[in-house]
């Protein structure tokens, strides 16, 4: 059982899946904005971003540091925090790869949506452990309400 829980509305979860479908067979990516208080973390906004890996967009994604700074500013402007990142795995499971692990930091929520033959399938969230050796699963709790922003 995961100690971490990420709340997300059905509407925003649907937007992540739709982004993965839109860019299939390439990987999509984006920033996750939200709030955390007393360990409860909730997604309240998304910022779809361009995948800057033009050389291999089917199996890689990259968000440049300038785009990261834009996402941080967008979060601040909305009185939110940049709490994580989402991306898709075309025709592959919604599990982080070794490449994902090498390029991650703890604390962020990493949502991965699997898109199989153009259709969205599983969507999971992950948190890198402090020792960088592995990820822990973060339970996704679906909420009915619409995003507040």
């Amino acid at each position: 059982m995961s100690d971490f829980v990420l709340k997300i509305s059905q509407e925003l979860a649907g937007k992540i899946r739709a982004h993965g479908v839109q860019t299939y067979p390439h990987e999509c990516c984006g920033a996750i904005l939200g709030r955390e208080s007393e360990g409860a973390r909730e997604v309240l906004g998304l910022m779809p971003l361009a995948n800057r890996r033009d050389d291999s967009p089917r199996n890689r994604f990259e968000v440049t540091p300038d785009d990261v700074r834009l996402a941080e500013k967008s979060a601040r402007d909305q009185n939110l925090e940049l709490i994580g990142w989402y991306h898709s795995h075309p025709d592959a499971p919604a599990r982080p790869s070794e490449f994902d692990r090498e390029h991650a930091w703890p604390w962020y929520s990493y949502i991965i949506v699997s898109v199989q033959s153009g259709q969205p399938r599983d969507m999971n969230s992950w948190r890198l452990r402090d020792d960088r050796c592995a990820y822990d699963s973060e339970a996704i709790e679906s909420t009915a309400r619409s995003a507040s922003i």
Binding site: E27, C29, R53, S56, R58, N59, R60, F61, E62, V63, T64, P65, V68, R69, E81, L82, W85, H87, H89, P90, A92, P96, S97, E98, F99, D100, H103, A104, W105, P106, W107, Y108, Y110, D130, D131, R132
Partner: protein, 94 residues
């Protein structure tokens, strides 16, 4: 000279939950060394085992990326702000 280093939110847990710290350093390399000497748990998230800055970790002085300046030899002036900004990367293993 005194400079401010902004700690990115994900790494504040390894820096006594501080948003920023004041350090004495004359260039970026010194600032990063002073930072990781003060907060040892930060080091593994910024540097790989071979001692190099991780490929997805970027450093800015004020609004300039040090890759386009003098990298870790980029000089610092009194009051400069050093920011640590990740690029976000990942994807399938293939």
């Amino acid at each position: 000279m005194a400079v401010k280093v902004i700690i990115p939110t994900p790494l504040r847990a390894y820096a006594d939950k501080q948003e920023s710290v004041q350090l004495q350093a004359s260039n970026v390399g010194e600032a990063m060394q002073a930072l990781t000497a003060r907060f040892k748990e930060l080091k593994k998230h910024l540097y790989s085992d071979d001692g190099r800055l991780r490929s997805f970790v970027n450093v800015y002085v004020n609004d300039e990326d040090i890759r386009y300046m003098q990298k870790d030899q980029t000089p610092l002036r009194e009051g400069d702000t050093v920011s640590i900004v990740p690029s976000i990367a990942g994807g399938l293993q293939q």
